[in-house]
Symmetry: C2
Subunit: 148 residues, 2 copies
């Protein structure tokens, strides 16, 4: 499959919206993200439904943040996107009759579950405000975000 970059894209445009210069149109975001306005709107739909952003039609319309950057984590954004698949690998058959395959599934599945849990935990530990601060210059904090 193609690598899923929706989270990357949506974080990018969200943080661009963070500096409060009025509503941002889909086509402007699309240009910044080097993609298509429809792709932006489609991707933002989940965030809107989750209440993280709002949008207005017509003249002067566009997208605005509708949340406290301190209270929203990458995990929240990920969930709002519909929890897209994290791992590119999986078990061949989910409920096999074969004992051998069941054992393989247990071993692999355990590792896959741990990896997914780790990702969600890390996502949950980063707020949009932290990312915004990171952008404003203090990149040194980045290194020990989770090591502290």
């Amino acid at each position: 499959m193609k690598r899923d970059s929706r989270l990357s894209t949506v974080l990018h445009v969200l943080l661009h919206m963070a500096d409060p210069s009025g509503p941002v149109r889909s086509d402007v975001m699309a240009r910044a993200a080097n993609t298509n306005p429809v792709v932006i709107r489609r991707t933002m739909a989940g965030l809107k439904q989750a209440g993280f952003v709002r949008s207005e039609k017509g003249h002067g319309g566009g997208w605005e943040l509708n949340c406290d950057l301190d209270k929203v984590t990458l995990r929240d954004i990920y969930l709002a996107l519909g929890s897209p698949t994290l791992l590119a690998m999986g078990n061949r058959t989910e409920s096999p009759g074969c004992l051998v395959e069941q054992a393989v599934n247990r071993a692999l599945g355990q590792t896959f579950d741990e990896a997914e849990a780790l990702i969600l935990e890390r996502f949950g530990g980063v707020t949009l405000a932290q990312l915004a601060a990171d952008i404003r210059g203090n990149h040194k904090h980045q290194e020990h975000t989770h090591a502290s």
Copy 2:
């Protein structure tokens, strides 16, 4: 993309080969794995090159194990498969000029790197022999393989 199940498949057939009843043909493995002989041969090619299995043509031919199950880990098998992509998500652009996107990439990339490292570490901690033992009945060990 379709979920990659090559590791799952190849472990399945490898462990079936573990009980020493002579060479196993691709079509037999394919039937067991509910797939196609060519897919099996294609997938096994890397394992053969890595020396974990050998194959013979002609009458009485087929595939046999060529390694010590105690010495080969899931990580070795994964690498022999050509280290297929582990994560379904990635950064939209790998080397963006935009500072905002750079910050997003750092945050996401760090998490992705950790997740991949975790998976490889877990894979490295499980030998084929352990899986084979697991199949032979002592499923209780499974739970605390890594918690011990």
